[in-house]
């Protein structure tokens, strides 16, 4: 019998909102692409609770389409300007990582994804009256940000993994 892979999803268990630290600015500066994920403890698949198992499969079922969308963006005829390598790199590091951390990522609507004239990547999610857009700057010098709105309340914040996670949790809330 083939060995059962040890799958680690200890980081998926918590849905507690995270706080933003000044270290998050690293993404913008193009200096810190490392995911700020604290892995609690590796547990084999069969030791997971049923709700964790369901979550595991829903996360991995919803991720490929997002990852594929990012990959396609670089070669797609559907964008006038392909994304820059920088925008592509940061986006493919950030969004799948955030999906991994969301306990209900399968409930997220399919994102709209495109580029602007500079090669920045724009990704947006709409759910009921809430809207979240992430703008991955074309290069380290241009600002990456998250815009969000609900009704007449509109605001933006810097684009970091933690901030995007918070915003997508808010979207699902």
């Amino acid at each position: 019998m083939a060995a059962c892979p040890v799958l680690d999803f200890g980081s998926l268990a918590s849905d507690t909102p995270t706080t933003t630290t000044s270290a998050d600015a690293g993404l913008q500066q193009g200096q810190n692409f490392n995911r700020q994920i604290s892995i609690e403890q590796s547990k084999p698949l069969l030791s997971q609770r049923p709700d964790e198992l369901i979550n595991f499969w829903s996360v991995y079922a919803s991720m490929p389409s997002v990852v594929k969308k990012f990959q396609n963006l670089a070669v797609s005829d559907d964008v006038e300007v392909p994304p820059t390598g920088y925008a592509q790199f940061v986006a493919t590091q950030t969004v799948p990582a955030v999906y991994e951390l969301l306990t209900r990522s399968s409930a997220l609507p399919e994102p709209a994804m495109g580029t602007d004239d500079s090669g920045a990547i724009m990704v947006s999610w709409s759910r009921a009256d809430k809207y979240v857009a992430a703008n991955f700057g074309a290069n380290p010098e241009t600002r990456s940000f998250i815009y969000f709105e609900q009704g007449t309340e509109r605001a933006s914040t810097s684009l970091t993994e933690n901030n995007l996670l918070d915003r997508l949790r808010w979207l699902l809330g």
């Binding site: 559907d78 580029t115 602007d116 004239d117 500079s118 947006s124 857009a133 815009y147 605001a155």
Partner: protein, 129 residues
């Protein structure tokens, strides 16, 4: 001797229909993207067509179009923006910031415009010949 009046009004603020062609597939998925000011529009304003058909508007794009959105000039003016023609069938929406200059206002106004807009045609259309 008085000079002849220009062949187009100084401003549009009534029931004139404005058209915006979609350059990217993502503009169909999120219409808001279509109303974000492009850097090359920074001086002129957001480009729209009027006094024409949706087909005329799409034909302005070099190779292909993903559809056309329409809205009325008075809807745009209600957002405290201006619609200034520079020819008998082309105008610019003035007052939108670049997202690089004011991201919140840029996305907020683009959202307002996209909610007012009607999709007149959607889907890829390539230019032939």
């Amino acid at each position: 001797m008085s000079s002849a009046p220009p062949p187009f009004p100084e401003e549009l603020n009534g029931d004139e229909t404005l058209y915006r062609a979609l350059r990217n597939a993502s503009h169909l998925a999120d219409k808001r993207f279509a109303f974000l000011l492009r850097p090359l529009e920074r001086e002129s304003g957001l480009s729209v067509r009027y006094n024409c058909t949706p087909d005329d508007c799409e034909n302005e794009l070099a190779e292909k179009s993903y559809g056309v959105l329409s809205l009325l000039a008075r809807q745009v003016v209600s957002l405290r923006l201006q619609v200034k023609p520079d020819s008998s069938n082309h105008a610019n929406i003035i007052g939108l910031p670049l997202k690089e200059e004011n991201e919140t206002r840029a996305f907020s106004l683009a959202g307002e415009l996209s909610r007012m807009a009607i999709t007149v045609r959607s889907g890829l259309r390539k230019k032939t010949g």
